[in-house]
């Protein structure tokens, strides 16, 4: 029977990219993430869902050590990417963040030209040998960000002059210009209209071929549309993690069911 199913959600690999084990996060006395263990696969879109304050964004930020910038924040437990502990003192967080790109809720292009927005990362990480090489990297990133055709004639116009949806795709292009292996997205579409959202979702599906994408979203429909795996967080716990199809048709945990059917906030 299996071959008769509509298998659009086929995942090419089952390799684990990010492995978290017994992760605890504290903001001062506040225990924000409790005993989270999860294995996130490569070349897969994983959605984190859950009500506000459930810890999904906090956990996402642990994956590229964005929480390091918050003084009172303390992370305990192991997070490994390709088997390497990212909280090892020898790991340079700046290098880590080149490998683990991030896209935020509000499009936040630098107040620079479109070109410089994308070129910035490759430049500081020394990824381009010369100007022609850099041009190539920028073009490729903008193409992969599905925005090249819209901006190719005005690469030196300010990035902030683009529409919201274009700015967000520019930010995605900027995030992938450094050739990351993991792309973290914290509500990347919440400030976008439905057309721009659809374009970004299409892009996410395309990026899945190369990266492990983790997306935090408040839109359950979006999680259902774009992801292959879904993790449901509630009150700092990872309640359920599994195939997106299962989570949305027949979840195991009653809390997951209550949340996705709109019964608990």
């Amino acid at each position: 029977m299996n071959d008769m199913r509509i298998v659009e959600r086929k995942v090419d690999t089952n390799e684990v990219k990010i492995a978290a084990k017994d992760v605890q996060v504290y903001y001062g006395d506040n225990h924000a993430i409790k005993d989270v263990s999860v294995e996130i696969e490569d070349k897969t879109v994983t959605a984190f869902i859950g009500p506000s304050g459930c810890g999904k964004s906090t956990f996402l930020r642990c994956i590229n050590r964005m929480n390091d910038t918050i003084d009172v924040c303390r992370v305990v437990g192991d997070i490994m990417i390709d088997g390497e502990d990212i909280y090892d003192p020898k790991v340079d967080p700046v290098q880590l963040r080149a490998k683990v790109g991030m896209v935020f809720q509000k499009p936040n292009p630098f107040p620079k030209s479109i070109y410089d927005n994308v070129a910035y990362g490759p430049k500081i990480h020394g990824l381009a040998k010369n100007k022609a090489d850099l041009d190539n990297i920028v073009e490729n990133a903008l193409r992969r960000g599905a925005i090249w055709d819209e901006v190719k004639d005005r690469l030196h116009a300010p990035g902030t002059g683009l529409s919201g949806g274009q700015q967000q795709r520019l930010c995605i292009a900027r995030a992938i210009a450094t050739e990351p292996e993991v792309l973290l997205m914290d509500e990347p579409c919440s400030a976008l209209d439905p057309i721009a959202t659809a374009q970004v979702e299409e892009l996410i599906d395309d990026l899945r071929k190369s990266y492990s994408v983790v997306i935090v979203t408040h839109s359950m429909q979006q999680a259902a549309r774009v992801s292959q795996k879904t993790a449901f967080f509630h009150l700092g716990h990872l309640v359920e993690y599994g195939e997106t199809t299962t989570i949305f048709t027949n979840p195991v945990d009653p809390r997951t069911e209550s949340y996705i059917t709109g019964r608990i906030g």
């Binding site: 429909q221 949305f248 027949n250 069911e257 996705i260 019964r263 906030g265």
Partner: protein, 233 residues
Amino acid sequence: MHDKHIASAFDRDLEAIQAQIMKMGGLVENAILEAAISLETRDEERAEAVRVADKAIDALEETINEEAARVIALRAPAAIDLRVVLSVIKVSANLERIGDYAKNLAKRTGVLSQMEPVNGSAGALRRMAKEVEGMLKDALDAYVARDAELAQDVIDRDIQVDQMYNALFREFLTFMMEDPSNITACMHLHFIAKNIERMGDHVTSIAEQVVYLVTGAIPDEARAKGDKTSLPS
């Protein structure tokens, strides 16, 4: 049962749509019994009432389908809510088919009451119809109570209806061989028996929807098949 939705209008929609199913189920139960009684008592007026009442059943099915489509479009139901919506569509389709069979039974009553009664058959058909009606009642009760066990019990009982049909099939065959002048009446009676047997299958399908609604999985098709008339003897 589940908690209420945060959006209370969603609960009202789902409740309203399930209330329609119950209303439709009541009409269909009544149609089965009335059709069978009209056959046994050769009451053409009563049979006519069953035929007329089928229109209301058909109209309800249409309403339920429209409401279900509206809920899907506007509320994007997931998990248990999605199963509720999918199940009402299927249950209403099954009820509509049962209603059609009852109507057909009532139509044949008109023809049969012009003929000589065939020894004891109308009583046997009424008992068979009563059995199916009882199964339907339990299936609908199981639906309301989200009772997968009761639904499974209904599924298991279908074999009795199948056996009743087998017995009647053989009986009609014998009557026809004994006296060819019985053939017309017996053909009608056989179609009635077959239709009641099919009603049982639709009730079984409703019970399977209850199991699906509660567990998220359709029960296996492994149940025993009682209708053996299609097998070589």
